[in-house]
Symmetry: C2
Subunit: 121 residues, 2 copies
């Protein structure tokens, strides 16, 4: 699996609202003891990551993440930009995620950063 594929699968986890399919996708994407942290949330393990994503989906129904720009990878690291769009398609946030890849090709950790909001004109 390329870093591009892994990043796309990671984004798919955030967008999958069917609980069984999301758990399955998380198991394919993350190691058992993976961890996630960003300025607003943190979680540990596949169950914790699943609960975190489910909580975001419940709070922001219909919102969707997408990859933004190229996926950049070296050694066991990758970085990629993302956008979050409302159900109407308006982009409401951009971020940068930095990930670490375990020996089995799954994500062992993601550290997320949120891009500053552009100033209103």
């Amino acid at each position: 699996m390329t870093a591009q594929d892994l990043a796309q699968r990671y984004i798919a986890c955030w967008n999958e609202t069917d609980p069984a399919r999301r758990r399955s996708l998380i198991a394919e994407t993350w190691t058992q003891d993976a961890s996630y942290v960003d300025p607003m949330m943190k979680s540990e393990g596949r169950n914790g990551i699943d609960a975190m994503i489910g909580g975001v989906q419940a709070k922001y129904p219909g919102f969707r993440f997408s990859l933004e720009g190229p996926v950049d990878a070296h050694n066991d690291c990758l970085r990629f930009g993302w956008a979050l769009a409302s159900p109407e398609g308006a982009v409401v946030a951009h971020g940068l995620d930095v990930g670490f890849i375990a020996a089995d090709g799954r994500l062992s950790a993601i550290t997320g950063f949120i891009e500053p909001q552009a100033q209103a004109a």
Copy 2:
């Protein structure tokens, strides 16, 4: 020490060419077993980091790093951009470093990324 201070001290390590002062600065900035990785280099421990930086300085005499843009930090993570300038002051590279901060406030790890070169006009 703020994340801004830590990032500035990290950049100062790269620019310090006096061996004794550089070792001292590295000891103040990095944990004993810290690690560094970017697309071109990796090192482990203060001695390894010192040797890596000394090697870069020997290869590119007179070049200097500077922080670029704001330092963004949350939890035990920080990110910051940097520029590398030639002795004549021409910027020859930009990068993004992501760091992890140990309980004692020092850096435990840096993962560096290099920005793609802008297309020539």
